[in-house]
């Protein structure tokens, strides 16, 4: 009692040291406590030994994006479950492919796994840089098939991450391209969401009013394998294009010209001048400022146009699937970030890596990083149908506007096309060549036909080998 009322020098020192220690180590202790508290029962119901690679440390390269940040924040739970330490390294999307390729080609095994672009699996598989995942999936000591429920993951993404029917990367987060439009502007003109590309152009013309700072539509215009070469392949496929003719990659021809002409036409007539240098964040920003009537891009951009701090169009946004092309097809991207296993790892590290991948791609972790996530930014790119059917997830995503979940789900299940882009080991070169060709047509540096013919001429020797 005495010490309570009148702290002695010693007790003062003791308490302040304790307080300092708590401040210093507090977050660590608290995080540990939270991990302990967190219910690991959902994972422990899997009939595998989660602790079989205990004590291992693996490094995982991801991009700095909220969907990976959420995963990183759950890492203490993974550690508590498996005893494996995961060190995350954040690499910007522009560099992660190069860094991974350099790591894989030099066989340094720096990254046990890295967030991987689906277009790179052909390259990785051709060089045997990464392991086939089927062996891990079918090993009963490593995977509880019933618990993991691999078939629940969207077929389009599984297909996109497979080469010759063999899986090389486990989809973690992905997106689907959809039409995003301004309900109010469309209603004022009596328009409906476009069902065909032709309608889409007409709608753009109808709401186009640059004098009052509203442009009809915009698509990604900036050059890059993941930028203009993200939109163009959908158009090309919708116009009936096939990448391979008689086993040969062909990028020119009438369908290609028609698709590129549509792209150029839409951008020149109804998009802001600057859009030819825009990537998706620029488009979403412009749309959220009310200056765009519509755009076609990833469904995940909905979180930007619904950001309460920035957006002026909340409540005025609606969604629809890609408009149909002349071939009658709707073609969405098959984009997802997947996790492969670096073939240069030791056997034990491979096991640890697989456990991490299984954990990250499981329904439970998918839910815990999405609607069950405690932080403010929830994910919208969950990898499996069961999560997309969870009422809580649906409720969360429908906050983005009319029919968001219905449209995205339909697109995910029907519009994803595994042959959206030519899946060959030479993709990095082909993607860049095509991106340059498309941009020279968009900017008027060369004609549509000349740009495509030139690309064909450059691509032929790359394929000939």
């Amino acid at each position: 009692m005495k010490s309570f009322n009148k702290p002695t020098r010693r007790t003062f020192l003791k308490t302040s040291t304790a307080a300092a220690a708590l401040i210093g180590f507090g977050p660590g202790i608290l995080r540990h406590a939270r991990a302990q508290e967190a219910d690991l029962g959902a994972y422990k119901s899997a009939k595998i030994n989660w602790r079989q690679a205990e004590g291992e440390t693996i490094t995982v390269a991801v991009i700095p994006a909220s969907y990976f940040e959420n995963l990183i924040s759950l890492e203490p739970q993974f550690k508590a479950l498996t005893g494996i330490d995961v060190r995350f390294e954040k690499v910007p999307p522009a560099q992660i492919r190069q860094k991974s390729v350099i790591d894989l080609t030099s066989k340094t095994a720096t990254y046990a796994t890295s967030a991987t672009d689906p277009m790179y699996y052909s390259l990785y598989a051709a060089n045997k840089w990464v392991d086939q995942l089927d062996a891990y999936l079918n090993d009963a000591s490593l995977t509880d098939k019933n618990w993991f429920n691999y078939e629940d993951i969207f077929a389009g993404w599984r297909g996109a991450n497979s080469v010759d029917g063999k899986l090389y990367g486990m989809p973690y987060d992905g997106e689907v391209t959809i039409q995003v439009y301004r309900k109010d502007l469309y209603e004022a003109k009596g328009l409906k969401a476009a069902d065909t590309l032709e309608d889409y152009m007409k709608n753009a013309a109808a709401v186009h009013a640059p004098d009052s700072r509203v442009w009809g539509a915009a698509l990604r215009g900036v050059a890059g394998a993941g930028q203009n070469m993200y939109i163009y392949p959908s158009l090309f496929r919708e116009f009936g294009g096939e990448w391979f003719k008689g086993g040969k990659l062909v990028v020119n021809g009438p369908e290609a010209e028609a698709a590129l002409a549509y792209y150029v036409d839409l951008m020149r007539k109804y998009a802001p001048n600057a859009a030819s240098n825009w990537n998706w964040p620029d488009i979403a920003d412009a749309f959220s400022q009310g200056t765009l009537g519509s755009y076609i891009d990833a469904h995940s951009s909905a979180s930007v146009v619904n950001n309460p701090q920035k957006s002026k169009v909340i409540g005025k946004v609606a969604y629809a699937r890609w408009p149909k092309g002349p071939s009658g097809k709707r073609v969405s991207s098959i984009w997802n970030w997947g996790f492969p296993i670096n073939a240069a790892l030791s056997e034990k590290k491979k096991k640890a890596t697989w456990l991490f991948i299984q954990w990250a791609a499981s329904a439970e972790t998918q839910a815990r990083t999405a609607h069950k996530f405690a932080g403010p930014t929830k994910r919208s790119g969950a990898n499996r149908a069961s999560v997309w059917k969870d009422p809580e997830y649906v409720k969360l995503l429908n906050g983005f506007g009319d029919e968001f979940v219905k449209v995205s789900m339909e697109a995910l299940q029907n519009d994803t096309d595994v042959d959206w882009r030519p899946r060959v080991p030479q993709w990095p070169a082909i993607g860049d060549t095509m991106a340059t060709a498309i941009q020279s047509a968009l900017s008027g540096q060369s004609s549509i036909k000349a740009a495509l013919d030139d690309a064909q001429k450059r691509i032929e020797p790359m394929m000939r080998g």
Partner: protein, 311 residues
């Protein structure tokens, strides 16, 4: 050896002395070598070795996307290069970029130097402010220009263009304007270098010649044309040489501002080599492009040095 022995026999004292000197000199040389060695080896390891490795690589096919085809190809990469339109195009872009930026830097730098020489006050301040762009990283400069200055509708330059009645321009989306933009950016960043060198050299010109000229009633233009320019000539040539070498190997600013686009409108040789090597993963061909750039740079520098020595 025989002659050394001969000398030793004839002049003993001289030999002893020169032997001692010889030993001393040798020791000194050894010591100097020892001191020099770390720096020399480091230089060898970081510049000469990579250069030789680059040349070695350029004789191979090294495609990360198709490793089973890799192997020695001799001069094949160079043969392909000579018939590659995009190589010639990028070479032309490099030359246009270099010539226009160097000429602009010299003219603007000289004009600024002459102007500042005649300033009565604030010379020090002006110098400090003028040098600022040089200390910025080219990548940062590129980002600033791309986002703050040239963005249509929002950028400062575009705002000025609209205010001046020219209308909004797509600065980086139009092939011609994009080239003009990257030339202006490089000039903006590096003119202060030319300015500082020329200013220092102007300040050291002898005043008496000008006095004599004035007595002879030479006009300002005549004084500039007949006195200033000839006296500044060594400094100007030096600036041209240094700036040419840098402009030929420029990379960061263009990479961040246009990435070589739109299309290939601003794709300098350096950028093409980078894209071939690291985006398309054809390391062998990319190395051949880099060697070609090296050859071009060496030839142009040799010509410029020859001109400098010639006069």
């Amino acid at each position: 050896m025989a002659s050394a022995g001969n000398t030793a026999a004839t002049d003993v004292a001289g030999v002893a002395y020169s032997d001692f000197g010889h030993v001393l000199a040798q020791r000194e040389r050894r010591f100097a070598t020892l001191l020099l060695a770390p720096a020399f080896l480091a230089l060898l390891a970081t510049t000469t070795f990579p250069l030789l490795f680059l040349i070695y690589t350029s004789a191979y096919r090294m495609d990360l996307s198709m490793p089973f085809l890799n192997g020695f190809v001799g001069l094949e990469n160079y043969k392909v290069l000579l018939s590659d339109d995009r190589f010639w195009h990028s070479l032309v872009v490099s030359l246009v970029y270099t010539i226009s930026t160097v000429i602009l830097q010299v003219i603007v730098g000289l004009a600024l130097a002459l102007f500042v020489m005649n300033m009565k006050r604030g010379q020090g301040w002006f110098r400090v402010i003028a040098i600022l762009p040089v200390v910025l990283s080219p990548a940062v400069v590129g980002m600033i220009w791309r986002t703050f200055m040239l963005a249509p509708e929002f950028g400062i330059i575009d705002y000025l263009a609209i205010s001046a009645g020219l209308g909004s321009k797509n600065w980086l989306g139009d092939p011609f304007l994009a080239m003009v933009s990257v030339v202006v950016i490089h000039t903006w960043q590096w003119t202060p270098f030319a300015f500082m060198v020329l200013l220092a050299s102007l300040a050291s010109l002898p005043e008496d010649i000008y006095e004599a000229a004035r007595i002879d009633r030479a006009s300002a233009w005549q004084r500039f044309r007949r006195i200033t320019l000839p006296l500044l000539r060594p400094a100007i040539v030096m600036v041209i040489i240094m700036r040419t070498m840098v402009a030929l190997t420029a990379f960061a600013a263009i990479f961040t501002v246009t990435g070589g686009g739109p299309g290939t409108a601003t794709e300098i040789l350096n950028l093409y080599a980078y894209r071939k090597s690291f985006t398309e993963l054809s390391i062998g061909y990319g190395s051949a492009l880099a060697v070609a750039l090296l050859i071009v740079t060496v030839i142009i520098s040799a010509i410029l040095f020859a001109i400098r020595r010639g006069k």
